[in-house]
């Protein structure tokens, strides 16, 4: 059984990467294969990384308020590349009013500040494709 492959990315201009790095390590320690893209990634770069890395999951860390611009573009690119089965998660500062809009465009998991790592690990384990194939 291959490991779950996760691309962790920080889109936009923000450089606050504590959350992205902590979650990347936590997922790795939970047995997943984690690719951290580093800072200032455009949606195009993130989609390309997901394709190249054969990702099961994309985790975006966004604290700056740019999520309503970054997410629609990324979801569109994933569809174009036939990657619509990739589980997309967003962590960061997301106002309540944006949550239904993000879900509607296909962002599955939304994790606000203070989310326990274990909740994210459990969510990925419970929702990602290889697990469905296992059972």
């Amino acid at each position: 059984m291959r490991k779950i492959r996760v691309v962790i990315a920080k889109p936009g201009l923000d450089g606050h990467d504590r959350g992205a790095k902590v979650i990347a390590r936590a997922l790795r320690d939970a047995g997943m294969e984690v690719i951290y893209t580093g800072l200032r990634q455009t949606p195009e770069q993130i989609a390309a990384a997901a394709l190249q890395e054969d990702a099961d999951v994309i985790g975006l860390s966004i604290l700056s308020g740019a999520h309503m611009h970054v997410c629609p573009r990324l979801m569109e690119l994933l569809r174009e590349k036939g990657l619509d089965d990739v589980l997309v998660l967003v962590g960061g500062i997301i106002p309540d009013v944006d949550i239904p809009k993000l879900r509607e465009m296909g962002v599955k998991g939304i994790f606000l500040p203070g989310s326990p790592m274990q909740a994210i690990i459990d969510y990925i384990n419970g929702n990602v494709r290889p697990i469905a194939e296992q059972v």
Binding site: I8, G12, L13, D14, G15, H16, D17, R18, K21, V22, A24, R25, A26, R28, V34, Y36, T37, G38, L39, R40, T42, S64, G65, A66, H67, M68, H69, V70, I93, P95, D96, V97, L112, P113, G114, P116, M117, Q118
Partner: protein, 546 residues
């Protein structure tokens, strides 16, 4: 002094049961059950503490503490268009705020114009957007720069933003030699923690020494740099790492200034500091006290500074944004109040208190006012301002202060061995140390050994939402339209000439501030000015490490 009796095995077994096997600070520092005079047996009052206002200033830089003058209540604010932020400033000044503090948006912080692809969705979101001098004029409309002090949180493009501020002041008829305020201008912590860097470390350091030289001549009362631990802490460092890396950054700036031919006592008095005040109360207080002592000692002994003004560490504090929770957001008021109290007991010279809603969004006006009131209550009602350094002499606080000092010098040695902070950054040393600490805390939290109320303790499942400030895209639209208009109406030949002069200075050794002032007067944009330097110096990219 009575020696401590050695406990027998049966005595250990009989010891009253405690809630945990070990007790540690939020930074993981082990804490004993009790501190006694033995813990400070090595402490010598005159050498290690001295009265407030006396070297090494452990107890404070002013003999009168807050009896003489309260700290400056400086609330960081900025969002949307310059006009929206200008209105917020007028509200804060009317509410009794005593200084302004400008928060810029990410495009401004990264030296990008609103029409750059990476600015998508970022214009006006985390702060105010400033593209050219025209925006700076709007930001301070109706505010007399000669009458207030302004702190500007700007780093990579600090010279450009500072030049804009100076030109606004010039147009208002203010005398530069009387202007006072601060630019953060601390690039080292950007490489270490916040990652808002543009140029590689060495040309970035040159911009800073250019500002030192420019200000000592032209704007002598301006604080040229605010060496910042705040962001290092927010990135997940321990309290000690914040202290050590920040002061070692300060040492690096002083060394580069001296290497650039400046006299230590000419520019060091204009260096100030900026610390975080996190939740572990006494550890923070010890950190502030140790910081003053270390800086005074290092300036005197390592650099031979002769002026008392070079020895005195002045600092701004902000309560810990990273400690705020989206869950049960009203709890954040309590956290912030306690953190602010630690900053005051540590003798801060200036303070920003965070708003309760900042884990969710930028603060509403009501939340920002409540945050300011928190400081005012500490100042007016608690009585902690009636005496200087009330915790001086506490066995625990003094022991912790000594321990923080020792730990900081150990980090200094490690960084000196690498060749200095620039070299340590090039090796990724501070970033790795912080990454480890940050992950360690997260594991402690996940295991429940560190509790955060409302998150992994006393959790509520059904929480009512609170009102938050929602920033739409109208600021981006306004700023984009203005940029387009500006490029049509300004003298573009003058802009091109001024940018050429900037490139020439960057390639050579001339101070970059003078050509930057000309670029600003010609209404060159922040993106154009930074691009001119990007072309000359290249851009920094870090290796993504996890």
């Amino acid at each position: 002094m009575t020696p401590k009796p050695v406990e027998s095995a049966s005595a250990v077994a009989d010891r009253p049961k405690e809630r945990a096997r070990t007790f540690t600070t939020i930074s993981g520092r082990p804490i004993n059950q009790l501190y006694t005079r033995e813990d400070i047996a090595a402490l010598e009052y005159d050498r290690d503490l001295a009265d407030p206002g006396q070297f090494p200033y452990t107890r404070g830089i002013h003999p009168t503490g807050y009896r003489g003058k309260l700290w400056t209540m400086r609330q960081f604010a900025g969002f949307g268009t310059p006009e929206e932020t200008n209105e917020r400033y007028k509200t804060l000044l009317a509410a009794g705020g005593t200084g302004l503090s400008v928060a810029f948006d990410l495009p401004t912080l990264m030296g990008r114009d609103p029409d750059h692809p990476l600015s998508l969705g970022e214009v006006g979101k985390c702060g105010v957007n400033i593209t050219s001098l025209a925006d700076m004029e709007r930001l301070f409309e109706g505010i007399t720069l000669g009458d207030i002090t302004t702190s500007m949180t700007i780093n990579s493009p600090a010279p450009m933003i500072f030049a804009m501020y100076l030109v606004v002041a010039e147009k208002q008829g203010a005398d530069w030699s009387k202007l006072s305020g601060t630019i953060q201008n601390d690039i080292l912590k950007e490489f270490i923690a916040q990652k808002e860097y543009i140029f590689p470390p060495r040309p970035s350091m040159r911009l800073i020494t250019d500002i030192f030289a420019f200000c000592s001549k032209e704007v002598p009362k301006w604080n040229t740099i605010s060496v910042s631990g705040y962001h290092i802490r927010e990135a997940g460092s321990t309290s000690l790492q914040e202290l050590a890396f920040t002061l070692r950054d300060g040492i690096e700036y002083v060394q580069y200034g001296i290497d650039a031919g400046l006299d230590v006592d000419d520019f060091v008095p204009r260096i100030s500091f900026f610390f975080n005040s996190h939740s572990d109360f006494f550890e923070e207080i010890a950190k502030f006290r140790a910081a003053r002592k270390i800086w005074a000692t290092v300036m005197k002994e390592r650099f031979g500074a002769k002026s008392e003004r070079s020895w005195k560490l002045r600092f701004h504090t902000q309560t810990a944004g990273v400690s705020l929770t989206a869950q049960q957001p009203y709890n954040n008021v309590v956290r912030t109040a306690l953190q602010a109290m630690a900053a005051v007991l540590g003798g801060t010279n200036s303070l920003h208190t965070n708003s309760l809603d900042e884990a969710l969004a930028l603060p509403t006006a009501e939340a920002a006012t409540l945050a300011l009131r928190t400081q005012q209550i500490i100042a007016a009602e608690t009585g902690v301002t009636n005496m200087v350094d009330p915790l001086g002499g506490s066995y625990f606080v003094e022991r912790l202060t000594l321990d923080m000092e020792k730990g900081a010098y150990e980090y200094f040695d490690a960084i000196d061995r690498l060749g200095g902070m620039v070299e340590a950054i090039e090796h990724g040393f501070p970033m790795r140390e912080i990454g480890e600490a940050s992950y360690r805390f997260q594991q402690e939290f996940e295991a429940g050994r560190k509790q955060i109320v409302g998150v992994n303790a006393y959790v509520e499942t059904d929480e009512a939402p609170i009102p938050i400030l929602y920033i739409d895209d109208s600021a981006a639209e306004t700023q984009l339209a203005r940029l387009e208009d500006l490029k049509k109406t300004r003298d573009n030949d003058r802009v091109a000439r001024s940018l050429d002069a900037l490139r020439a200075a960057a390639r050579g050794k001339d101070n970059t501030m003078y050509p930057l002032l000309e670029c600003v007067r010609a209404y060159a944009t922040i993106g154009e000015m930074c691009d001119a330097l990007r072309e000359t110096w290249g851009e920094w990219e870090e290796e993504p490490l996890i």
